[in-house]
């Protein structure tokens, strides 16, 4: 693999890290307990104002921890240190499932854009929570390929925080109605992140279809099987292969 192969990945990680820090810096206003931030003022009157403000602060604080942590966890540096990766992954998982997603779900109920805004945020949160659970379960059973695929979805959904804000700014410059822009800038990145994560998974052989095709390709490329390819059916080849499956289960 060429040295340039990792450039888009590094560029993405640096861009997201910069975006995450920018958002965190801009969110400091939410911790001024004397003044209500404009984001809250424009939603007033809120039925549960105190609860909303609490959820907002929890969400902002947990995102400021979880997003950079997740970005760090997908770097090769941390992946080469499995013990540290595991522990930081546990911290990220607890923060995401214990604070980020529940507070985000609460905020989603009062999201701008009506039910379209609410559904968009709930969908993004559901994808993150599901992917974290699936990713942790995959890691615990030693299926690192499935783990990487799940965590790809976590990071890409978190990147919506940055891409969505960037789109809001771009739409504002283009003079688009801010209410329409808000919903488009939410749903676009949420769906694009799902598609993008799956495309990357297929590209790097993390998706089940790609893994099955790779298995089949390896099977037919095996020189020791030359001559017998035509005599066997290729159908068993796409059977899903599991990395690191315990040998004891074979032939049960």
């Amino acid at each position: 693999m060429s040295r340039c192969a990792g450039v888009p990945r590094r560029f993405f990680l640096l861009l997201m890290l910069a975006g995450s820090l920018f958002i965190a810096a801009g969110s400091l206003a939410y911790f001024d307990f004397e003044t209500l931030p404009p984001f809250v003022v424009e939603k007033l009157p809120l039925r549960f104002e105190t609860l909303y403000l609490f959820a907002l602060r929890v969400h902002v604080a947990s995102a400021a921890v979880a997003f950079p942590l997740c970005l760090a966890l997908v770097t090769r540096t941390l992946q080469r240190r499995p013990r540290l990766h595991r522990w930081l992954g546990r911290v990220a998982g607890v923060v995401i499932l214990g604070a980020l997603v529940p507070s985000g779900a609460g905020l989603a109920l009062a999201a701008k854009g009506g039910s379209a805004g609410t559904l968009g945020f709930l969908l993004s949160g559901a994808i993150v929570a599901t992917a974290v659970v699936l990713g942790v379960r995959a890691a615990r059973r030693g299926d690192l390929i499935a783990h990487r695929r799940a965590m790809l979805h976590v990071v890409s959904q978190m990147s919506v925080a940055v891409s969505s804000r960037a789109l809001i700014v771009a739409f504002d410059r283009a003079g688009l109605d801010p209410d329409v822009a808000y919903v488009v800038a939410l749903w676009g990145p949420v769906l694009a992140s799902v598609a993008g994560a799956e495309l990357v998974a297929v590209r790097f052989g993390l998706a089940p279809v790609r893994r099955a095709l790779d298995t089949a390709r390896a099977f037919f490329a095996d020189p020791s099987l030359k001559g017998i390819h035509r005599e066997i059916s290729p159908l068993p080849a796409p059977v899903r292969a599991r990395a690191g499956r315990p040998v004891a289960r074979v032939g049960r």
Binding site: I23, L36, V41, P45, S164, D172, G175
Partner: protein
């Protein structure tokens, strides 16, 4: 003939006073606050322009006997004006500004993030006294 121009002039000066008062007390502070905040957020982007419209040519009186003039603020995003984004009233004697939030009126400072509770009875014209 002499009375009509003076009435028109009084009405014009009242509308001008409300416009200036809303401009100084609400529109300019909002623009100042918006210029300081990060654009990279989920907050509604600051509008390209705001305009104040005075809804009544004469002042109304609330149930406490204070005179007020209702106004609205329209905002422009791109080419389109979004009308009545802020609905409120300006009190003639005190210069106090109130804005509508839901079904109640709060001091205009609440739009700048200051904690301000709803004030009952403001910006609502008192019913004309019944003649018995």
């Amino acid at each position: 003939m002499l009375v009509a121009p003076s009435l028109a002039s009084a009405a014009e000066s009242l509308a001008d006073w409300v416009k200036h008062r809303v401009d100084d007390g609400l529109v300019k502070p909002l623009a100042r606050a918006e210029s300081k905040r990060s654009r990279f957020s989920r907050e509604r982007p600051p509008p390209a322009e705001r305009r104040v419209r005075v809804l009544e040519a004469s002042a109304a009186t609330d149930k406490n006997g204070h005179t007020f003039v209702p106004f609205v603020v329209d905002v422009r995003y791109g080419l389109d004006w979004d009308e009545n984004q802020i609905v409120g009233c300006a009190y003639r004697e005190s210069g106090n500004l109130f804005v509508k939030a839901g079904n109640e009126f709060r001091p205009a400072a609440y739009l700048l993030g200051k904690r301000a509770e709803a004030v009952p009875g403001v910006c609502e014209a008192a019913p004309p006294p019944s003649r018995s």
